[in-house]
């Protein structure tokens, strides 16, 4: 079997803030009635995470659930676990109206890490990145410069960004430019 590689194939940029490709990551889109017990069970059983509140995610380390819209979740897990997880979720949901899709290969995941991480994101997206409105655990679907992107706050100095695979180079490029040495909003 061929080996899966991400579009950015491990690229890394060291600036005032670090930008790095996280490689292949399992991502499953689950749509349905989020108040249904079967939908909740399908998402929580394969991710080992709690259901997120609206606008939040419960991604601890690199696995969990993100709230995408009132009828959509994104289940994040190791790349190799996707097929098994989809089969298991399909069984749990067999009598429930739902949609399940493996979107792992349609996406890239990029980590932005450093003290000025909020400023890097704020330069590129209209999201309010102040700590009072974007705390650790917040999930935001928005745009970055000219393309759709989503990101969540992993810890106080780390934000994980997901975008479509086809625009990976573009997103990596704009993140690197915003994170470059000398581009800090508040220079040392």
């Amino acid at each position: 079997m061929s080996k899966a590689i991400s579009a950015l194939n491990g690229q890394r940029f060291e600036g005032a803030v670090t930008v790095k490709d996280l490689g292949p990551r399992g991502m499953i889109t689950l749509r349905g009635d989020l108040s249904s017990a079967a939908v909740k069970k399908a998402a929580t059983s394969v991710s080992g995470a709690e259901m997120p509140q609206a606008g939040m995610c419960t991604i601890a380390k690199d696995q969990g659930i993100a709230w995408m819209s009132p009828d959509e979740l994104l289940v994040v897990l190791p790349y190799a676990d996707v097929d098994g997880a989809i089969a298991k979720m399909g069984k749990t949901l067999k009598d429930t109206h739902h949609l399940l899709a493996d979107v792992s290969d349609a996406r890239s995941i990029i980590r932005v890490q450093g003290t000025g991480v909020r400023d890097v994101i704020a330069k590129l997206s209209p999201a309010d990145m102040r700590p009072s409105s974007f705390a650790v655990g917040t999930m935001r679907r928005t745009r970055m410069a000219q393309v759709a992107a989503a990101f969540w706050m992993r810890d106080a100095r780390t934000i994980d960004v997901i975008c479509f695979r086809s625009v990976s180079e573009y997103v990596f490029g704009i993140l690197s430019a915003a994170a470059a040495e000398g581009a800090e909003v508040y220079p040392k």
Partner: protein, 109 residues
């Protein structure tokens, strides 16, 4: 910059994250309607300087369509509400009445 709060995901989204969907509450005409009704449905749109009702989509966000009531003159937003309705809810019309007593827009007031 116009900022609308999406009623589905509660994000205060600026217009770069939204796409405009034209006038709200347009009644679709169908088989049996006369020419005048079809002309109204297809072509006749309000273009007010003041209170307006529009459809918007949270395109770069949760992806949902919603309704917004705002003033095109001042960019004041009176509220946003569900797409699953044929008319603005009372809390929206009340908010407009408080700011602009005596307002009308098509059949609403």
């Amino acid at each position: 910059m116009l900022i609308l709060t999406c009623p589905y995901c509660s994000v205060a989204a600026d217009e770069t994250e939204l796409s405009a969907g034209g006038e709200a509450h347009v009644k679709r005409e169908t088989v049996g309607a006369d020419d005048a009704a079809f002309e109204q449905y297809l072509f006749q749109r309000e273009n007010p300087k003041g209170i307006h009702f529009e459809r918007w989509r949270h395109a770069a966000g949760c992806g949902k369509w919603f309704h917004a009531a705002r003033c095109t003159n001042t960019l004041e937003v009176f509220g946003t509400y569900s797409a699953q309705t044929l008319e603005p809810p009372k809390n929206i019309t009340d908010a407009i009445s408080a700011a602009r007593p005596g307002w009308t827009w098509r059949n609403f007031s």
